[in-house]
Amino acid sequence: MDSFRDKIVPVTSILLGVVVVWYVMAVILNAPFQRDLDRRANQTPGIVEFIGKTLAQPKPTLPAPHQVAVNFFENTFLRSITSNRSLVYNAWVTLSSTLLGFAFGTALGIVIAVGIVHVATLDRSLMPWIIASQTIPILAVAPMIIVVLAAIGITGLIPKALISTYLSFFPVAVGMVKGLRSPELTHLDLMHTYNASASQTFCKLRVPASVPFLFTSMKVAVAASLVGAIVGELPTGAVAGIGAKLLAGAYYSQTIDIWSALVAGSVVAALLVMVVGIAGRLVDRAMGGRPA
C-alpha cells in the first residue's frame, strides 16, 4: 500500500501530465501546417474539427500519442515478423548485435578487472587509460569502424557488436574492479589465517563479493550496448534495425515511424535492464542473499 501511494500515484500522474502536454504541443506544432492546408482547400473548419485534423496528419511535426501507439501496434503485432517493416524484426536485428556486443563487453570488462586487481603494473598503467577512454566520444568512431570493416569484408553483426562491446566494457571493468576490491581487510585476513592461496581467495572471497557490483554495472552496460548498436546501424544506410528505422524515417519525414521506432528502442532497453535486474536478483538468492 505504501509503495502504491508513494510511487505509483505520483508516477502515473506525471506520466498523464506528459501525455496531456504532448497532445497540447501536438496541436500547437501541427496547427500552422493544417491552417495552410485548409486555406488552400478553402475550408473553414470549426475549432473541434480543426483540432481533430491536427491530430490526424499523415506526416505531422509532432505526432499525437495515439498515432504513435497505433503505428507501434500495427508494426509490432499486425505485421508478419519477417517483414522488414515489422518492428519486431528490426528490434531483433538490433537486439542480436546488442547482446553479442554486451557479452563480449562483459567478458572483456571482467578480464580487465581481474588483471587490474592482480597485476600492480596494469593497475597503474591501464586504469588511467580506461577512464580516459570514456571521455572520448567514441560513438563518433562508429561509422568508421563499420565502413573500414566492410572494406575488408566483415559486415553484418560483428562491426555493430564491436561498438557495443566498446561501450559496455567500461562500466563492467570499473564496477568489477570495485567489486573485487570490496572484501574488507578482516575478510582477507581471515582467508590468510586459513592459509588460502591467492586463487582460493579469489574464487571464494573476491568473486562472490563482486557479484552485486557485476549486476549493477551490467545494467548500465546493457543500456550503453543498445545505444551502440543503434548508432552502429546509422552509417550502413538504413538496412535493418531500430537505428535504420530512425534514419529511414528521417529521410522520408515519416515522423510517426521515427517515434514508434523510438518507442520500440525504449521498450527493448527497459526489457534488457529488467532482465539483467531479475537475473541479478535470482543469482543473489541462489547465493544465499536475504532481502535486506
Partner: protein
Amino acid sequence: MSSILSLSSITPRSWQGYAALVLLAGALLLWPLVSATPGYGMATTVLIFILLLVAIEADNFPPMIGVVLLFLGAHGAAWMLLAGITGNEGSARASFYLLLVAAWFLAWRCVTVLSSFRPTSRWASTALRLIIPAIFGAWILIIWEAVTRGAGIPFILLPPPSAIGARIVGSLPVLGADVRQTIFKAVIFGYVAGSSAGFLVAIAADRVPFLRRGLLPIGNMVSALPIIGVAPIMVMWFGFDWQSKAAVVIIMTFFPMLVNTVAGLAASGHMERDLMRTYASSYWQTLFKLRLPAAAPFIFNALKINSTLALIGAIVAEFFGTPVVGMGFRISTEVGRMNIDMVWAEIAVAALAGSVFYGVVALFERAVTFWHPSVRGG
C-alpha cells in the same frame, strides 16, 4: 659478432629480461630485419642490439640508474626501429617484430620497476602517476606505428599515427572550424542549458515531494533509454544548424543531472539538518549552506557524465544532417570519401576535446569541493 660475444655475459633478473634475451637471439637467427633493398644499415642494427642488451643488463644496476637505462634502451631501440622502417614499408620480417616485442618487454619491465617505487615526496609520486600511464600510451602508438608501417597495412584500413599527426597539422583550419561549429556552438550551449535545467527541476522536485516521488523513477528509467534516437526529430524541428544539436544535447544532459542532484540533495545527514533547524534557518538557507554543498560531489559526477554525453549527442546528431561544417559531418563524409586519416584526425581532436572538457570539470570540482574526503585524500 660483438653482440654475440656480449650475450654470454648478460644476466637478466626478470622474466621480461629473459624473454627479451631469447627474442634477441631469435632476431639474430632470422636475419635480416626487412626484405626490401635499402634495409637497415649495419651500424643501426648493431646499435639497436646494443641498446636492448644494455637495457637487459641495466636491471642489475641500482634501481634508479637501472630504470633510466631500461627506459632509454627500450625506447631508443624502438625509435631506431621505427626510423629505419622509412623506405622499407611493408617489408618487415619476423626479426623486426621480435626486436619490437623485445623492446616492449623491456619497457614493461621498466614500468614494473617504476610501479614498485614508493617515493616519499608528493611531487615524485605525482610524476610517477603520470609517467607510468604515459609509457603505456606511448607503446600503443609505437606498436600501432610499427605494425601498420612494417606490415604495410593499406592506408584506408588503418593509417599510422604519424600520418594522422601530419594530417592534423596539415588541416588545422578545417578542424578548427569543425570544433567551433560542434563544440563552441552546440555542445557548450546544450551542456549549460541541459545541466541547469536538470538542476532547477531537481530543486523544484526537492521542494515538492510529490514531484520527486514521480520524477525519480521516470528519470532513472529514462537514463537507460537510447535518448540519442531523438536526434532525427530534433533535426526536423530545429533545422540543420547547431540549434538542433544543442537540443539533443539538452535532452541528453537533463536526466543525469536531475537524478544525481535529487540523490545529492538527500545526502546530507539528519544531524546536520537538525542543526540547521536549531539555528532556525529557512529552507533556502539550509539549501544553500548545507544541502547544496553536500550535494556537490553528486552534481559534479553528473557534470562529468554529461561532458561526454554532450559531445556524443552533438556528433551523432550531425550524422542526421548538418551544414557543411562540424565534426560529425566531417567524420561521415570523409568516411564516404575513404579519407580515413582525416577521420582519425577528427577523432583525435574529439578525444582531446573530450579529455580537456572532462579535465576542466574535474579541476573545477577539486576547487569547489576541496573539503570533501575524496579530494583531501582521506
